[in-house]
Symmetry: D2
Subunit: 281 residues, 4 copies
């Protein structure tokens, strides 16, 4: 499914330093970046990096004090995800826990799964398989946590949200991840462009590792899961932030967009009874 | 410098599952594992993994309910570390922040550097270079945090320790890492066998990335820095735990040992005035 | 109902200072202290205080370094509680919120009701009256929190317990109080001697202010509510601790006992359907 | 010293309920309320309460849905405080710890003194007497915590501020109180009108109990200590909030004022060397 995505970011710089952006569409065997443009308003030094294991594509921009900096990214992307019927398989095959999986089972800054062990197992531990467990916890978050702009900040974590029950997409994702890990299910943070998200912005949800695949879950239910263009994954928002800023910088403005570049779109928002899921990687 | 290391671990298993151990000496261009033996008391399925970026060596042991499990590891290792004079270089070269470094600049489960920004910069921000900053914060931890067995638990984090001022090696390391990251200095958790540690046990300290090298710091001052055999590094104790257990298992007993396998040993415990440091990677 | 209660406490003192005990049975119009004895092994300066608003009876013992101190308290008490049928009354009469009630509606050290507002109202807010709300939340704690000796410590608060779901009587009480306050129901911590508690110890539960009475609730369901001899109430365990110690003191031993001093005892443990409750003050 | 104080508060009410205000000047043997006026824009039911032990004066206003409510309070007050020379007295006389003092030694919602014990004693424990300790900790807060409007919220506590090192007057007061209590010095929250505070608003600072007197300390150093008109004291901001609101209410506007009603004013801001202090009670 093809989408035209764009992001425009404006900063004013008060010091030298660098901005590391994580806004480019991921490239892999499934998601094809057909064309893309990345430009900056001023002539600055730019270095591109690809992270070894995640293949996240970072852009390191050297900044100089006292400048207006405008960044424009746009791309045409085919998010060739996989739509699957999920068979009943009770558990993760434990001998398959490689270091790459293990790191998504550990607690992280915003996903303190070690503190949610009893709660997660009391609530969801008796479901028959991991797909049912993650479906149930995603539904539980949707029902119990209020989507409320401005209710949380950059320090808010899953341990807060499970009790305070309000937050934004980032908080919904962190809580989903923390509950999965407390159930011994690897889970990671997913960021992307999102078709039919109103108002348009970057979006966050999460992936859980079930039956050998990273399946996508979104407890906000704000967007169809087949309308996402993946940017990055990581342990939590610390790993997959849109921007890491080193130096004194004022964020002035951003505009994010995701448009369908085909004729037809049949939205996929999973219900709780179907055993259908989408995988992006 | 050559050391004979050994670890003996005993568990009783109440369920099927797996134990993932992280106790083998790291192998790299500097640290040579001359010989090593890994045995288990019962004939169980074992799978070895090496983590892609860290080269940590994990051992996945499949466990079966109702068994006494004894694990023995011993090795002869040459920890061919580098002892360096550290030149004054003010800051991290920001265009060099690759994803591999960036992940050690983010907050993590036990190192909430995002909450320590003001404190770290008020206390240590005015030092002239990053080596002085890390030396000063290591000394500050040594002076202000009491080493007190049993005072903390597996949920204790740097945010607790900075105020509660008591802990064990793990807590000293987490606080050092969090303060470094709050000062925009990449830092990571280091585990190893430690010569002249009393009582003998696994040890934890931290590495900070300065002038292009990962330098070793230990705020406990319990052991000479040149008497360590490195096992692993990671973001914090979540990444580099000695054992990850999936299943119901009783930990019965452990014995850890690190002996000098040469004639002479001149302990290196850095003072605050010298600009000498040790790097293990 | 008459009970013979006793407490024996042994300390060793390393410094001068004082111990303030809160172990004497409360005296009021309902609870009669028929006779009581308070003795100490060494001849020390003792001062009795009664708190103005709660009528808690504190004993300030001046301690001297280097002494074995044994304290013995025993009493015969008639806990002449009130057993009531609770009528449906929707809400607290708001014009009746005096400062004496208001302080039991505020968050306190171990009962951070301000953080539980959404959770409490989502779960229990739709019940028809305050008695049903408190009955439901008491039942919810009983079902979801595991009674587990040693799982918590003196810093554990309701905010921890609501998520970590394990604790002892103190933690059950704190969570009950915090949920009540989040529902705009005054609630306070209750300590006492408890008949049929095994093993015998001091017990903690909570009182909620409903229809003009302080009603007793106990989410542990460990003891009959009519077998308690009240010692004290307060905002939380900070106010009603058995002992406040100023100085260096080693706690050596305690023995607590509560025996029936009548022939017959019909245990009262409320079920969820009856609208019966007990009030001690 | 005479001051004219006033407060104007505007609310819009969406539901029935009540607002409990704590804005009237305290009346006691020292502080004389010469005249005062309290009016509301609409004819509502008002009930005045005085708290038993603190003598705080609360006003309970019954509110009705769908109304603009404007409250005006003004008064002429003589804050006949005591200015004292503080003699060296090492410690609190422990046999004098009555329940009234004891409650200001316990941890409270925003002043978790139990977590600051080591830090407080490491930093300030060696000072010769309690006055020096409190003077030193007040100075330490002033130097290390940045006064930054909007940096904190209603959940922020001393445990946060000691590390995050930013806040407003409420946070400065909470940290001062928590450090005092960790040093076994009773301390309580103080609210008042403040002459020469810019911009004009309610102010918060704290009182510590030294040599038998409640002495005033203000780590913000924003106002002269002799220019305050005391409203209330309590354990922390939970006890002494300007308004407790039960019901759905929109806060629209407030205006607070404190003017000198005499000719001359010599500001008293204590320095660290003098042993002079002010007591309001």
């Amino acid at each position: 499914m093809k989408f035209e995505i764009s992001a425009q970011l404006k900063y004013y710089t008060y010091s030298n330093g660098c901005i590391i952006l994580n806004i480019k569409a991921l490239k892999d065997s499934k998601q094809k970046v057909i064309k893309e443009f990345f430009t900056t308003s001023t002539d600055i030094k730019i270095k591109d990096y690809k992270e070894l294991s995640s293949r996240n594509r970072l852009t390191n921009l050297k900044i100089v004090a006292g400048q207006d900096l405008e960044i424009n990214y746009n791309a045409l992307v085919d998010n060739n995800f996989e739509l699957m019927d999920i068979k009943k398989v009770a558990d993760l095959n434990l001998s398959k826990i490689s270091p790459e999986l293990l790191k998504y089972m550990h607690p992280s800054r915003y996903c303190q799964s070690d503190k949610l062990y009893r709660l997660a197992n009391n609530k969801f531990g008796k479901k028959t398989d991991n797909f049912e467990k993650v479906t149930a916890l995603t539904q539980w978050i949707y029902k119990n946590v209020e989507y409320l702009s401005g209710s949380t900040n950059s320090q808010t974590s899953a341990y807060d949200t499970v009790t305070e029950q309000a937050g934004v997409c980032r908080d919904f994702a962190h809580l989903g991840i923390a509950l999965c890990r407390a159930l011994t299910i690897p889970a990671r943070y997913f960021t992307g462009y999102a078709y039919q998200l109103f108002p348009q912005d970057f979006h966050a949800c999460f992936e859980a590792y079930i039956n050998g695949k990273w399946l996508l879950f979104d407890a906000t239910r704000l967007v169809p899961l087949n309308g996402l263009v993946k940017i990055a994954h990581g342990r939590d928002a610390a790993d997959a932030a849109v921007a890491n800023i080193f130096g004194e910088v004022n964020f002035m403005f951003s505009s994010v967009n995701c448009q369908l570049a085909e004729d037809e779109f049949i939205p996929f928002i999973p219900d709780n009874l179907s055993r259908k899921a989408i995988s992006y990687l």
